[in-house]
């Protein structure tokens, strides 16, 4: 069997494993709980997956360049509370949405600036902004939930188009656009190229700054969008909105075969990672597993996911 085929098989195998794990988990939860398989619950899973999924599109691009953005949960939070506050102050929902999206985009570009122009590690930069943004969320809301905005805003999070929840539609559109960008545009090529080898890309004439600003900007924008969907689902601007979500999103992306070293991974597979995380978390909640144990499990899954990623990479390299 040629080297190329074995490599492809190895990658497909890992995706296959995720699928199997998905199925096993679903079966497990449907037997051990009441209500896992109910329509309401399944739709719940889909809506929560959709929130993470929208942000995951941006995160995928960032990780492909070899970077990371751990402020996505905080952006969701400040987007959520910010939009709610704007609407309560009398802003038109559409205007509020647009303002928040632009702010998300700008946050991402600021990330790009610190990471590329000042040449700082992405982890630390986004750790700092995570703190800044979460603090801002508490300041704006005074630590209290923000209520009282127009009912029609709820369509985003709670409405349906036909049988499909609106968040799922939004997520699907985001994934399609994300896929198109990564697979069919030169920008997408550069994203993979910069992740593979930043210096070789620079020496091939790639405008690395544009790529960095682009991926981090998109990540910020999409995280803000996710925050808006979350706001609409929960029907109030919660100061804690999005807290801890970054972990689920990053785990989902890594489970989807996107290597943390950059340069590889298909966005299509991230959907499976998201489903796996979604089912796992939902199942644990329905089983009434205490919050602390959930955190334990999530941590283990992340550790396993990135270890598996590195080990299969090393195996592939040794075969060459």
């Amino acid at each position: 069997m040629s080297k190329k085929m074995t490599n492809k098989l190895t990658k497909n195998l890992s995706q296959f494993t995720i699928l199997i794990a998905l199925i096993i988990l679903s079966i497990f939860f449907s037997f051990t709980t009441d209500g896992f398989l109910s329509t309401t619950n399944l739709f719940n899973i889909m809506r929560q997956v959709a929130v993470n999924g929208i942000a995951a599109v941006g995160m995928t691009m960032v990780i492909i360049t070899g970077g990371i953005d751990i402020s996505v949960g905080a952006i969701m939070g400040v987007g959520s509370v910010g939009c709610a506050t704007l609407m309560v102050q009398g802003a038109h929902p559409v205007a509020a949405v647009l303002i928040i999206l632009v702010l998300g985009l700008m946050t991402g570009i600021i990330h790009g600036f610190f990471i590329h122009d000042i040449d700082l590690p992405p982890m630390i930069v986004t750790l700092a902004t995570m703190s800044i943004l979460r603090g801002t969320t508490y300041i704006i809301s005074g630590g209290l939930p923000v209520y009282g905005f127009p009912k029609n805003f709820n369509i985003i999070g709670q409405g349906y188009i036909g049988p499909i929840p609106v968040p799922v539609i939004i997520m699907t559109i985001c994934f399609i656009i994300g896929w198109f960008i990564l697979e069919r545009t030169s920008f997408g090529r550069y994203v993979y190229g910069v992740g593979s080898n930043k210096e070789a890309s620079r020496l091939s004439g790639v405008n690395v700054r544009k790529v960095m600003y682009g991926v981090y900007g998109l990540c910020g924008l999409l995280s803000a969008m996710a925050g808006l969907v979350l706001l609409s689902r929960v029907n109030s601007g919660q100061p804690k909105a999005g807290e801890g979500y970054e972990m689920d999103i990053i785990t989902a992306v890594v489970l989807g075969g996107v290597s943390t070293t950059g340069g590889e991974g298909k966005i299509v597979n991230v959907i499976m990672g998201l489903l796996l995380m979604g089912i796992l978390l939902n199942g644990m909640v329905i089983m009434n597993i205490p919050d602390y144990y959930q955190r334990l499990v999530k941590g283990f899954v992340l550790l396993l996911a990135i270890s598996y990623d590195k080990i299969s990479q090393k195996r592939a390299n040794n075969k060459v």
Binding site: S2, K3, K4, N7, R184, T185, S186, F187, R189, Y192, G193, S196, N197, E199, A200, S201, R202, L203, S204, G205, V206, N207, G263, E264, V320
Partner: protein, 492 residues
């Protein structure tokens, strides 16, 4: 007579098809200075690595103090008393000189490190070398010359019996060089043997020890400095027949296409050149002469502080590789793996990478066009592969270089700079690359070629510029060029 400190007996080292060292033998006695000379690629670095245990010889023996050494490894070499000081010093800049000297062997009372004692002892060592440095200072605060002295002090404190020094005077001023020779004298008095590698022939003669000449991995001669002169030495370093057939020029050379005036930055000090249409301009010089740095400056990969560039008579500012490519200038880098290729991406991905514009509209890639483009260049470069979706890291060196060349051909650049285009490539692929270069200039493109391989440089170039220490020391025409002249200008 005492046993020789180090003896190399018939050392041969082969790497996948390349013979880096071919039956090399020589010896060094305690307290002796032996200098090792040879061109780039003669095998000096490989020899050092064999002595220090970083490489295992394919055949041959290493004897230390009259005992044969089996399975040499860096740790073992150190125990035997063999130390190396490389050009890129091996210090930890954030630690003090004393901490560096005693790294791994700190003076302790129980578990407490005796900082004061270490500083005192370090100062003493340094004084014995005739220098005056405060060992409590952080290494990053010391000058390069002082850092070197600290490294030497470290080697002395580790009781090294053989000190290998690789181009030690390259970064030093004249005054510091004098100091270095003084230190070498003192080391000799202590019975330390010195293996000194340098391109600076005046120093080689100054040290007045025995000179070992390597050429193409072979040991040419060992001769006392007193018995030979500089030109005689150069003849030994260089003298070989030009073997390869280089394709002949068919068309004439045209007008000036590129003019560079007084380019300056941290590495190059006022370089100027002209390149004519259809010409292959060779750029010669030893490692560190600044050839790659000049190429990178012209290509916009490194910034310049001063200088002007004219392309087809028009003045341009090339501030980034993107600028260069847009104006039709390309650079095929020296290090194809780390700078030329995206190793974990496919062949076709790599080939279109520097010119995606030509196959996309409004940023969207036209896959059919791209497929045609990449297939064109895969065929043009004669890249023989299973599938162009293969990752480039699976390819041989020759095929990898062809992918890189394919990428640059796909940019339709009119000026191409080749930095060591045939390094690490087999004979067959080399010929293909020479023929390609010839075809390109016949089509009216112009090439600057950096090469450390004399035959290739002389065989392919229409003119040759020689560099040394960041400046261009001379120009040789095709008629007058020979290897001795190049080396003279390269070591002046």
């Amino acid at each position: 007579m005492a046993e020789k400190l180090l003896q190399l007996k018939h050392i041969t080292k082969k790497f996948a098809g390349v013979v880096a060292l071919d039956d090399v033998s020589f010896d060094i006695a305690a307290g002796e200075v032996v200098t090792l000379v040879g061109e780039n690629g003669a095998g000096k670095s490989t020899l050092i690595k064999v002595i220090t245990g970083a490489h295992e010889p394919t055949s041959g023996e290493l004897w230390v103090d009259g005992r044969k050494i089996e399975n040499n490894r860096p740790a073992l070499a150190k125990e035997l008393g063999i130390g190396v000081i490389y050009q890129e010093l091996n210090m930890m800049p954030q630690l003090t000189a004393a901490e560096n000297i005693f790294y791994g062997r700190e003076l302790k009372k129980g578990i407490i490190i005796q900082k004061k004692a270490m500083i005192e002892q370090s100062n003493k060592l340094i004084r014995e070398l005739g220098a005056n440095i405060d060992s409590s200072k952080q290494v990053s605060e010391l000058s390069i010359a002082e850092q070197q002295i600290v490294e030497i002090a470290k080697a002395v404190s580790q009781e090294m019996k053989l000190l290998i020094m690789d181009e030690p005077t390259a970064p030093l001023t004249n005054a510091e060089i004098e100091k270095m020779f003084d230190i070498i004298g003192r080391l000799q008095k202590r019975g330390v043997a010195i293996l000194y590698i340098s391109h600076r022939l005046e120093e080689v003669f100054r040290l007045a020890g025995r000179i070992v000449v390597l050429r193409d991995g072979k040991h040419v001669i060992t001769v006392p400095a007193a018995d030979i002169d500089q030109s005689g030495l150069i003849k030994y370093m260089v003298g070989r027949e030009l073997g390869q057939d280089y394709p002949k020029r068919e068309t004439k050379i045209g007008e000036t296409v590129l003019e560079v005036k007084e380019y300056c930055n941290a590495f190059i000090k006022g370089c100027s050149l002209t390149l004519n249409r259809g010409e292959i301009l060779g750029l010669a010089g030893l490692v560190g002469a600044g050839r790659t740095e000049l190429a990178r400056a012209i290509f916009g990969a490194d910034p310049i502080q001063k200088g002007e560039l004219f392309l087809n008579g028009k003045q341009l500012t090339i501030g980034s590789p993107g600028d260069a490519i847009r104006n039709g200038i390309g650079l095929i880098t020296e290090d194809r793996k780390n700078q030329g290729l995206l190793l974990n991406q496919s062949i076709f991905y790599n080939i279109s990478y520097a010119n995606l514009k030509s196959v996309s509209k409004y940023g969207v890639i036209n896959r059919i066009k791209e497929s045609k483009l990449t297939q064109t260049y895969v065929d043009a470069m004669n890249i023989k592969v299973h599938s162009i979706s293969q990752q480039t890291k699976t390819l041989s060196g020759g095929n990898q270089q062809k992918v890189v060349l394919g990428k640059w051909l796909a940019t339709n650049s009119k000026v191409l700079i080749f930095d060591e285009p045939t390094r690490g490539i087999d004979i067959g692929a080399k010929s293909e690359i020479y023929r390609l270069m010839r075809r390109l200039v016949e089509e009216g493109k112009s090439i600057i070629m950096i090469s450390s391989e004399m035959p290739e440089l002389i065989g392919m170039s229409d003119r040759i510029l020689v560099m040394r220490g960041g400046i261009i020391t001379g120009e040789l025409s095709r008629e007058e060029v020979n290897q001795e002249k190049i080396l003279q200008l390269a070591t002046r």
